[in-house]
Amino acid sequence: MPQPPAVPERRGNAVVAVLSAWLVPGLGHFYLKRPLRGLAFFALVVASALIGCALEGNLYKVMAGQPLTMLATFASMGMGFLYFLLRYALHYQGNIMGAGYEYGTAFLLTAGLMNLLLVLDVWDIVRGKKE
């Protein structure tokens, strides 16, 4: 007798998981009962962002007449609450004259992009496509 196709197991609320994963790096994995991985991801994303700030890199914002800054801003905002904390609470500004400006920008962009990948990972887990 043919077996019905296996329904992927759901592991939590997708909206809560994805939003928490974006807002706080690693929180989505924590919500999906993977606390150690969540902690490790949090440490890596925050370390990358802090190194970027220490090097006085650019935390992108949209600039008129420069459409590519929209993409860079989207990537930077991927780091969730850290972006808003740095920009609006701490009034962080990079220093284009700083010796580490280019490296710092790379670290800040990487922090955002890593967290966006974590959001996709959480989505896959919550949909049952990944362990």
Binding site: R37, A40, F41, L44, A47, S48, I51, A54, L55, I96, M97, A99, G100, Y103, A106, F107, T110, M114, L117, L118, D121, E131
Partner: protein
């Protein structure tokens, strides 16, 4: 802290750790992927630096 090499190694370390944790679960596979990504990034960076060595760096670009 502002050594180009150290910053490159630090960047490679963070990125390779991240992808190792994201893509692999078993310890042996994690170590293998970590070494592949880390050494690939650092070795690739050194290779590109070596290839660029003959070219003059020139004056810094003007700040807009």
């Amino acid at each position: 802290m502002l050594s180009h090499f150290l910053l490159m190694v630090l960047y490679a370390l963070i990125v390779s750790l991240f992808f190792t944790l994201l893509w692999r679960r078993e310890r042996k596979e994690q170590i293998k992927l970590f070494l592949q990504v880390f050494l690939g990034m650092v070795g690739g960076g050194l290779l590109v630096a070596w290839l660029m060595y003959p070219f003059p760096s020139g004056p810094p670009a003007p700040i807009p």
